[in-house]
Symmetry: C2
Subunit: 194 residues, 2 copies
């Protein structure tokens, strides 16, 4: 953990505040004033630390992505076989404190901007690329390449779909169900014997 200046800490506080507001209000409902209020500061300060609202959201998305990445990486580090790597990716994407309706709302709202916001689109591309790469590291040793690619698309789309589903109707999926359904989608030959 590198030394963090006052301004880095402040920026962090504002990102967190923005993410909290985002969960409740969506991108459009998240005004600079609400973010400031959530952080216990004045609106001016937000634009003191971020050039614009768009930049704030970009950094919020980058950070949310970083948290998710760390979760998955922590599990991946403990995995030794390809099968375990697949399970790590899947379980990492459904940890209960992230796979929760408010968080899904925030992601959904950020994703809605992707088609019209180049910066967010870049972050989104990175997310998909990493997901694909993580899955492929488990699939390549077990399947022919073309099969592996299809499987990766299948699993990552399913994960996205389950997130979306939870965002749209809270309570319709539990983390355990999501993991069970996704593991089953791997197929019996890919999931490690429990």
């Amino acid at each position: 953990m590198a030394l963090r200046s006052i301004s880095d800490i402040r920026r962090q506080e504002l990102r967190s505040a923005a993410f909290r507001v985002l969960q409740r209000e969506g991108v459009h409902g998240t005004t600079l004033e609400k973010v400031a209020a959530e952080a216990g500061a004045s609106k001016g300060i937000v634009l003191h630390y971020f050039r614009s609202k768009a930049e704030l959201f970009e950094q919020v998305m980058r950070e949310a992505n970083m948290v998710l990445r760390q979760r998955v990486n922590a599990r991946l580090a403990k995995a030794t076989t390809p099968q375990e790597r697949l399970v790590a990716v899947i379980e990492g994407n459904f940890e209960p404190d992230m796979f929760a309706p408010p968080v899904c709302h925030a992601w959904l709202s950020l994703c809605e901007q992707v088609p019209r916001d180049l910066a967010l689109a870049r972050v989104q591309r990175v997310i998909h690329a990493r997901m694909h790469s993580n899955l492929m590291s488990g699939l390549r040793p077990l399947l022919p390449d073309s099969e592996a690619k299809l499987k990766a698309l299948q699993i990552s789309a399913l994960i996205d779909g389950l997130w979306l589903r939870l965002g749209l109707s809270p309570g319709s999926v539990t983390p355990e169900q999501a993991i069970a359904v996704t593991l089953r989608t791997l197929g019996p030959e890919l999931s490690p014997r429990s």
Copy 2:
């Protein structure tokens, strides 16, 4: 087709115009003025036919849903076996003219409002319920009930996920791939021999 009054026709035109703008601009970017311009009318007329912007979007979502429903139902009507019903649902959800990036953007934008718009949430619930019911009509004869429910969740989440994927990175999935991946997810025992 029932007789349609002038006002019904006008409403229809405005809904279509709104859906077209929605594809380009998203819910927030879709202004009453833009909708009016797209329909070749003045802004006042939009509020003459719809009580509010929210009501306009609700009806746009209802109509988009209706189109999708008709597509699926047309295929379902030709299906005779449970397996054929499953294929009908899947192929109906990936017809090339609907499974296209602009349409996905529009849906994504509408879905983003769901957590904060009761009327849209109701439409969304209907959509999910119908999807579930359609899938169950194919699955129930072939699987024990608890298995069928899980399978239905799996397939519908996968379909949602593939739509989301296409909206987020246009060109990353073709309708053929989407159908192939989803059919494969059914499992060999459920998909009809080709």
